[in-house]
């Protein structure tokens, strides 16, 4: 859908794209470049809103043909059941192959060790990078946005990773015009971020405009949670609550979807998309600041994890 945007001198230019149309067109261009230049791309799909928007854009980019990519999910073992159900349903509905890299399996095999703080987010890196290597994926789409975090503000749309999946911010290729450089040696791969230029609000406005279905945990609902490090976490077998932490029923919603051990819910009455958009537009906290424990570990937590191969 194209919205005719008004130019600010009062005259209507039928040729100026609205900001959502411009972002959509750019993202579609990125998907098609990857389809044209790579042998074996995959879309990282967590069932979170950014990856859902990515899949929606990919469906539009190749319509009426099928999306020429598989999906890949890194399952921490502490995922929200509603999100896993959504993931499987959507993959099946579009006839897409779903690869799963399992953190639990790595822990069971003794390759990874549970951390004392119980968070499994940093543990995702090894299963992810080994799956990329074993399946020989040469392009991996991620839903990362530059507005999320200042290390991500420096991220290219096409981001080359070495054979160890490492990101070296000092050796990034300059990205000029819309001429993306996808060259890579065997063993290397390129992380691709079609939503680089989107903000959290853009994502929500686009979900509203396109009528995209999301897992219900994004909307306000009653849930049993307990307070840890200033965040409302969902009680569950993953290891909470501990002694001294008490469960209570609150009306909450999630702004991001990730590992249950480190993704916090926010108090909210926003049970429709219009209310969610209003809430985000008025929020004084970034989505990561509000809901992610792992980013608070150090000033360079995200940069350090990205260097190792995390998104």
């Amino acid at each position: 859908m194209t919205t005719v945007a008004k130019t600010e001198d009062g005259t209507e230019s039928p040729y100026a794209l609205s900001h959502l149309d411009a972002l959509e067109s750019e993202a579609v261009h990125i998907f098609r470049e990857v389809a044209g230049e790579f042998e074996n791309p995959v879309i990282l799909f967590s069932g979170g809103k950014d990856s859902i928007v990515m899949l929606h854009l990919a469906l539009k980019a190749f319509a009426p043909a099928a999306v020429p990519f598989a999906l890949l999910h890194v399952d921490t073992g502490h995922n929200f059941p509603e999100v896993l159900e959504y993931r499987d349903r959507v993959a099946a509905a579009h006839g897409l192959r779903l690869h799963v890299a399992s953190v639990q399996e790595y822990i069971d095999r003794g390759v990874l060790k549970e951390r004392p703080d119980g968070t499994r987010n940093p543990l995702q890196t090894l299963p992810l990078t080994e799956k990329i290597q074993s399946e020989r994926f040469d392009a991996v789409f991620g839903g990362g946005r530059r507005d999320e975090e200042k290390a991500r503000a420096k991220e290219r749309v096409f981001s080359l990773r070495d054979e160890f999946s490492q990101w070296d911010p000092r050796r990034q290729r300059p990205e000029l015009w819309n001429l993306y450089n996808g060259r890579h040696a065997p063993g290397e791969h390129v992380r691709v971020f079609p939503l680089s230029n989107w903000t959290e609000l853009d994502v929500w406005q686009y979900i509203a405009r396109e009528g995209i279905e999301l897992p219900q945990i994004y909307y306000a609902h009653e849930r049993e949670v307990f307070l840890r490090s200033g965040m409302w976490l969902t009680a569950g077998e993953w290891g909470g609550p501990k002694d001294g932490e008490t469960v209570e029923k609150r009306r909450v919603r999630y702004r991001t979807v990730g590992d249950m051990s480190c993704t916090g819910a926010v108090d909210s009455d926003a049970d429709t998309i219009e209310k969610v958009i209003a809430e985000i537009a008025a929020s004084r906290l970034t989505e990561r600041g509000a809901t992610r424990a792992d980013d608070k570990m150090s000033e360079a937590a995200m940069e350090d994890r990205k260097r190792e191969g995390y998104f």
């Binding site: 859908m1 194209t2 919205t3 600010e8 001198d9 230019s13 040729y15 100026a16 794209l17 609205s18 900001h19 959502l20 411009a22 972002l23 959509e24 750019e26 579609v28 261009h29 098609r32 470049e33 044209g36 539009k60 980019a61 190749f62 319509a63 009426p64 043909a65 099928a66 530059r146 507005d147 200042k150 290390a151 991500r152 503000a153 420096k154 911010p169 000092r170 300059p174 990205e175 000029l176 015009w177 819309n178 001429l179 450089n181 060259r183 890579h184 680089s196 230029n197 406005q205 509203a208 405009r209 958009i277 209003a278 537009a281 004084r284 906290l285 970034t286 600041g289 509000a290 940069e303």
Partner: protein, 444 residues
């Protein structure tokens, strides 16, 4: 929020702009103020900055920490790479390419300017137009950024005097106009005190123009691109081969310039075959016409051979194809570009083998003089090159089309992006430097 407001929000336009300024011109402060005063800095980000500033024993929050995202940058207190920032007002949404001002990072300003529709060039009111200002203006002109804003900063330190501003604005505008910059808007500001950045200044009632933000909100976006020569680089061929669409064969791409209409006669380059546009799908929905920068799928009336890398153009307005490229380039890699270098050239969706035949001149940005036959271009150099390609390319002049007049050179050995190229004449070479090599077989 009502649905009406949601629609109003999504109907705003998007402006991509870049900032340029020397180290102490106050660029970080200006960027910080635009983000802060448009309420794009959220409290947890500000708290993080305050925490780190305090731990280093600084008195107040160091706003540069908002924009310097990498360890090395924080350790050295400098910005080493382009970062992209996002903010919005009710009238428009902005993508800011925040580019470092150091001389050695010319390539970063080129990177930021390549997608920008507007550049803000900062000068210190006490120093006026300096070498670095001229360099920034030259890059904006080379990259043909449609709108240039001169922000004369630190007006508070020159007593908010009109004649100081007027002298700098006049000198800069004369210089920029000579370079071919189509539009200069000069604004006297104090980024630190907030004069004329978001709010009009009470200290400079002699100034009747817009504030920086007001100008960013009202400058026309993509105003003439829909009327340029129409160009569609084919990215991907869509062939569902499904029961519902057994014969569908669509050519997908983002329209680089101009407008395409159903029924129009088109030519596919480089083959030169001609047919008609039978249909246009705009992301799954049929439309009668589509224009830059929409991503579309075009259906053709005849079953002719078209693949990724081809360019679809109106038959009556086709660019010439050539294997000999003359261009102004900015070298962006650490290893030099030399005559005889074998490279890959990516233009639109087509990547071809190429060889650097000659480097007739290197540009000295400080005074725009040409250094003939430099032998090589090193990182951050801007120069003229002549390139022979293995296959013919349909090239527009960069002056006509920033998208189909631009290319990158890639190192075939390791994939490094070497060079940013702009086809055709530039302000920098009004008189082509005479090259003896021209006479032995290469006909440019």
């Amino acid at each position: 929020m009502s649905t009406t407001t949601t629609e109003a929000l999504s109907a705003t336009t998007l402006l991509r702009f870049a900032t340029a300024g020397s180290v102490d011109d106050g660029k970080s402060t200006l960027v910080g103020r635009l983000l802060h005063d448009s309420k794009s800095v959220l409290s947890d980000q500000l708290e993080a900055v305050q925490r780190v500033s305090a731990s280093r024993g600084q008195d107040g929050p160091d706003l540069a920490l908002l924009t310097d995202g990498l360890r090395a940058e924080r350790e050295q207190g400098i910005t080493i790479d382009v970062a992209y920032r996002y903010f919005a007002t009710p009238r428009r949404r902005f993508i800011l390419a925040d580019t470092p001002g150091h001389v050695q990072y010319t390539r970063n300003m080129v990177t930021g300017a390549s997608t920008a529709e507007l550049t803000v060039i900062l000068v210190d009111a006490r120093n006026g137009v300096v070498e670095q200002t001229r360099r920034h203006a030259a890059i904006a002109a080379l990259l043909r950024v449609p709108h240039v804003v001169l922000a004369v900063n630190k007006m508070d330190l020159v007593g908010y005097e009109e004649r100081v501003f007027a002298r700098i604005a006049e000198e800069f505008t004369a210089y920029a106009t000579e370079l071919g910059v189509p539009e200069v808007t000069a604004i006297p500001i104090s980024a630190l005190a907030g004069d004329n950045v978001v709010e009009p200044s009470a200290n400079m009632d002699w100034y009747g123009g817009p504030t920086v933000l007001e100008h960013l909100e009202t400058v026309p976006v993509s105003h003439d691109l829909a009327h340029c020569h129409a160009r569609l680089p084919v990215q991907y061929v869509i062939r569902p081969q499904s029961a519902d669409h057994p014969d569908y064969r669509g050519y997908a791409g983002q329209i680089a310039a101009g407008t395409f209409r159903v029924g129009e006669e088109v030519t596919v380059l480089p083959s030169g075959r001609t047919t008609r546009v039978a249909g246009i799908d705009l992301l799954g929905r049929p439309v009668d016409a589509a224009w830059t920068t929409q991503s579309v799928t075009i259906l053709l009336a005849d079953d002719i051979d078209v693949s990724r890398g081809d360019l679809i153009v109106p038959t009556k307005d086709a660019p010439p194809t050539t294997q000999d490229v003359e261009a102004t380039v900015c070298h962006v890699a650490d290893a030099p570009l030399t005559v005889g270098h074998r490279v890959l050239l990516k233009h639109g969706t087509r990547t071809v083998k190429a060889i650097v035949k000659d480097i007739p001149s290197r540009l000295t940005l400080d005074d725009l003089s040409l250094h003939p036959h430099p032998g090589q271009l090193v990182a951050n150099d801007i120069g003229r090159v002549k390139i022979r390609t293995a296959e013919p390319l349909p090239l527009d002049s960069y002056a006509d089309s920033r998208r189909t007049g631009s290319f990158i050179l890639i190192d075939p050995a390791d994939g490094t992006t070497l060079t940013a190229g702009m086809v055709g004449e530039s302000f920098a070479a009004p008189e082509p430097v005479k090259n003896e090599a021209d006479d032995d077989g290469w006909d440019f």
